[in-house]
Amino acid sequence: MRRAPLLPALVFTIVVTQIPFLLTIYYSLQSWNLVRPGSQHFVWFENYVSVFADSQFRGVALNTIIMTLGSVIIAVILGLLLALLLNRHFIGRGVVRTLLVTPFLITPVAAALLWKTTLLDPTYGLINFVLGGQTIDWVSEYPLASVMAALVWQWTPFMMLLLLAGLQSMPGDQVEAARVDGAGAWAIFTELTLPHLRRFLELGIVLGAIYLVNTFDAVYMITQGGPGTASANLPFYIYQRAFLGFDIGQSAAMGVVVVVLTIIVATFALRLVFRSFGAAGSES
């Protein structure tokens, strides 16, 4: 009886999220191209062999790692700096926080559009204007960096909010005592603030990575993965294979590979982080 209130949510989640993955595994063992009806047949692990032999796939996997880790790390560093700036009392603090939060709220498609056109355009873009009338064609010369710029801009606010919550949970008397003992600002930061923030930093990195590894909108809007596959990540590449190449078997196999890699990284990291927050250990 106690389980009754839980069941609807649990059953719904299992049906909608788990069945597709089982089907993905099933499809990944088949040769199936939607363009050729009747082509569907079992090939066992052939798709996996060609996925691993696909040098484009490896390049795209590398892009995914660079894009995810690069954006997360830059966003965490910027977010930390902003959180430190905001962790003081000053005039208009609420307004400043509201301004800083906004990029995170902008619909990703709209944000990517904004970056591609009004910010990064070689002739009329604001970035080139701020750099003193440069005419750099960012999107074609630095496609990966262009996508990452939009991602960092959107995710820095989240990191800031998270780390600000961390800073505000710091016991003030500890800092006060250290200050009375004559510790400088840098010593307080490295020996008290950073250790206290550690779990918040870890959580930020793990959550950022989970959300950003799924990046699709920014790649789709800004570069379409190009030139070639220079800025394609796995979600975009799989999308291309499935919806432009109609290769169901291949794209399913790639999906399975991505899931396995994600699970390895994420279960471990998530358990660790949520343990340290006590969120999972608090039940009786």
């Binding site: 009754a4 839980l6 609807p8 949510a9 909608v16 999220t17 597709p20 993955f21 089907l23 499809y27 902003l82 700036l85 003081r88 005039i91 208009g92 400043v96 926080r97 800083l100 906004t102 990029p103 709220l105 902008i106 619909t107 498609v109 709209a110 944000a111 559009l113 904004l114 056109t117 009004t118 204007f129 989240f158 909010l161 998270l162 961390g166 400088g184 600002a185 959580l203 989970i210 799924n214 699709f216 909108d217 796995l234 979600p235 799989i238 999308y239 919806f243 794209s251 399913a252 999906g255 991505v258 899931v259 994600t262 699970i263 994420a266 982080v273 927050f277 969120a279 999972a280 039940e283």
Partner: protein, 292 residues
């Protein structure tokens, strides 16, 4: 911006006299000024988008970019003429219905995982989280095949179901953290007084967690409204949402920045407003309730 920079040196002078307890040697006013400059810098692209939306196309394409122009509503009119209306309605429908469904499913589940914990609560919680770790792209192929099979492509209800599944784990975790804040003494007192469970929930628990329910709803609204991947792959002209409209609009009007900015502003506005209200809860939502 220029004005605030020039203000800094004159106003920072008194800061030095504040005494030796100040940890920073830079001077708080200078730091505040810096904070403001950075904040405006981060916000500027958004401001620029909104400004561009009120420009005529000629004013949108100037080198150097201009801040002085005579504002016009012409671009917004053009966006509505291009038919953003039905897409806005679809986004609104998919967002509102999926959010309502999420709350209906998540509230009892969160209750069963907090105030009256079932066995294996931890495992269930981690199951919910783990569904968010699985990359969506790995599920899109079978979802497309199944949805196509049951003739539910370009149907708003397909998005409703998927958005509900997408937000449910976050909502369960978030609501659970709100339930855990309900003092157990209150529940015990209510049961000693002979109140039924239903009555306790309605009269004791609900008032305490209702701000939490509101925050959870806002987070779900933000994610559902902004979702693009499912929408672009599973919908077209009938059930397309605002991001889908935006993408189509770029194809047809790619060279008209002012018009695009107006469309982007309309697309982003509802969620920006919702997010400003929910900013204290954003982190809690995204961290599955781990951080208050």
């Amino acid at each position: 911006m220029a004005a605030t920079i020039e203000d800094a040196p004159t106003t920072s002078a008194p800061a030095r006299t504040e005494g030796p307890r100040r940890p920073s040697r830079v001077g708080p006013v200078l730091l505040t000024t810096l904070t403001w400059i950075v904040a405006i810098g981060f916000f500027f692209p958004v401001l620029w988008m909104v400004l561009t939306a009120f420009k005529s196309e000629n004013a949108a394409y100037t080198d150097p970019p201009t801040l002085i122009f005579s504002p016009t509503l012409e671009q917004f009119r053009a966006v509505f003429d291009a038919g953003i209306g039905p897409y806005l309605a679809n986004s609104l429908g998919a967002t509102a219905i999926s959010t309502a469904l999420v709350l209906v499913l998540a509230t009892p589940a969160a209750f069963a995982l907090s105030l009256r914990p079932v066995e294996k609560t931890q495992d269930v919680l981690f199951f919910f989280i783990s569904t968010k770790m699985l990359p969506v792209v790995a599920a899109i192929v079978p979802i497309y095949v199944v949805v196509n099979e049951i003739r539910a492509l370009d149907n708003i209800w397909t998005l409703v179901v998927l958005y509900t599944a997408m937000n449910l784990p976050i909502a369960v975790w978030m609501m659970r953290s709100f339930f855990l804040e309900v003092p157990t003494e209150l529940l015990e007192a209510a049961s000693i007084d002979g109140a039924s469970l239903g009555r306790t929930l309605r009269e004791v628990v609900l008032p305490i967690i209702s701000p939490g329910i509101f925050a959870t709803a806002l987070i779900c609204v933000i994610f559902a409204w902004n979702e693009f991947f499912f929408a672009v792959n599973l919908t077209a002209a009938n059930a397309g949402t605002v991001p889908v409209f935006l993408v189509g609009f770029i194809t047809s009007e790619g060279l008209y920045w002012a018009r695009l900015s107006a469309a982007a502003t309309l697309a982003a506005l509802p969620v920006v407003l919702a997010g400003w209200f929910a900013q204290n809860k954003l982190v809690q939502g995204l961290s599955f309730g781990a951080v208050k």
